[in-house]
Amino acid sequence: MSTPLPLLERLRAWAAHHAYVFFSSLGRLCRQPLSSALTIAVLAVALALPAGFGLLLTNVRHFAGDWQGAGRLTVYLRPEARRDQAEALAAALRDDARIASVTLIDKDQALAEFKRASGFGAALDALPDNPLPHALVLEPAPTAAADPAALEALRDALTARPEVELVQLDLDWLQRLLALLDLAQRGVRLIGVLLGLAVLLIVGNTIRLDIQARADEIRVTKLIGATDAFIRRPFLYTGFWYGLFGALGAAAVLAAAWWLLRAPLGRLLALYTGLPEPLGPDAALLGRLLALGIGQGIAGAALAVGRHLKAIEPR
């Protein structure tokens, strides 16, 4: 008579069956190459879109942070401040971690420059003293540059110094850009959620059709005493494969787009000296795509299996 197998033996068989279903579900996909490829292509596009937008946004942020003159501060000293005071302040600021570079603009040098550039040479010669103060131009460090609050704090600290008359900080455009980027980030997230949902539904629907096509087989295996887990297994693995190939397809789409855009982007960036290298798709992005694709693939399959397997009972 039928004797139950020992636990270890059953565990081995369970693992072997997983391995078997792992490959046989792949084989099943390969036996319908056209419809599988179409599904995978749709999944790849749905996964590549949010990833591509995200990458674009990361780059814009990356450039905004490093933009020459982003959040540049101009410190005007009081007219009576002397050259050595200006140099002392410049030296002190060079040690500040928030500041990348300090340029001292001497008031005599500034006046000479202004005379030459403005053409008011004679009129200015009539002045008894140089009306211009010494000035310092500060380039904030990249971390501070992307953070308007930090720049404002820096401005206030400098204004409080006795030898400083005025600190000019043009933050408006930076703040607008960052607000815009925030909005774009939310938009990308929303698109990501919607397309993630689309992946779930695409896989779910594909698996639903698969379940319907295999209804007879499911009925027979249930008659023979297969558990729900046993019957579910090939469909969940099919969802896994769809997710995996969809993610790899998305990675290929992004890599191709990157390869096409890289040269013209490089030429464009060369026009702006000092801009950093653009960021392409990397291993972390591939990892996120795989996790998302496989997760949604299995979840979509589980959804379809949960809804449709119960309805198929032997008659």
């Binding site: 068989a13 069956h17 027979v220 005493g225 297969a226």
Partner: protein, 223 residues
Amino acid sequence: MLRFERVGKRYPGGRDALSDISFELPAGAMAFLTGHSGAGKSTLLKLIAAIERPSRGALIVGGVNVARLPARRIPALRRRIGLIFQDHQLLPDRTVFDNVALPLVIAGYRRRELARRVRAALDKVGLLDKERVYPQTLSGGEQQRVGIARAVVHRPPLLLADEPTGNLDPDLSRDIMNLFCAFNQVGVTVLIATHDLALIERLPYPRLVLRQGRLVDNPLAVS
């Protein structure tokens, strides 16, 4: 092994397909179930395998009341029953070997032991040379024998057959009936639904006769 206690079955929206069925089939016994078309033979077998659930009464299979069995325990029940259908219920996209192996795969047998048992079962039904072919390429009688091999490969203590000789010629029918007798001789409890009275006439097994869902001849009545 098998006991019906005042079992009734009414399909949703229908009249009673079975009413007041009580009998007992001891372990190791063999019996036939006969009756006109629509008498309830298939329904009775389906109740045993929990393909349908009884509306009334208790149905004990191997000590378990199937009438109250929760859905999650049905697979374990079915693994202790070998089921044979008139329409074979083979999977067309798998070879004869893989069809017969299915109950062992479900039970978790490993490759070597599995292959040994599949070949033993195919040998018993005389189809050892067909293990690589697909079911559609076989004759009706051969397909029926593949179904029988699949039903016995995991050596279930109870074998149920619904019209196993349905549309086979008399010689083949007799071969298949002899197979069931052989299984019974090694201790398997067997219940066969058939309307082929000529075939079972000469066989020394009790006959349950159904008419309109009632047992009109019951040699296995519970004492």
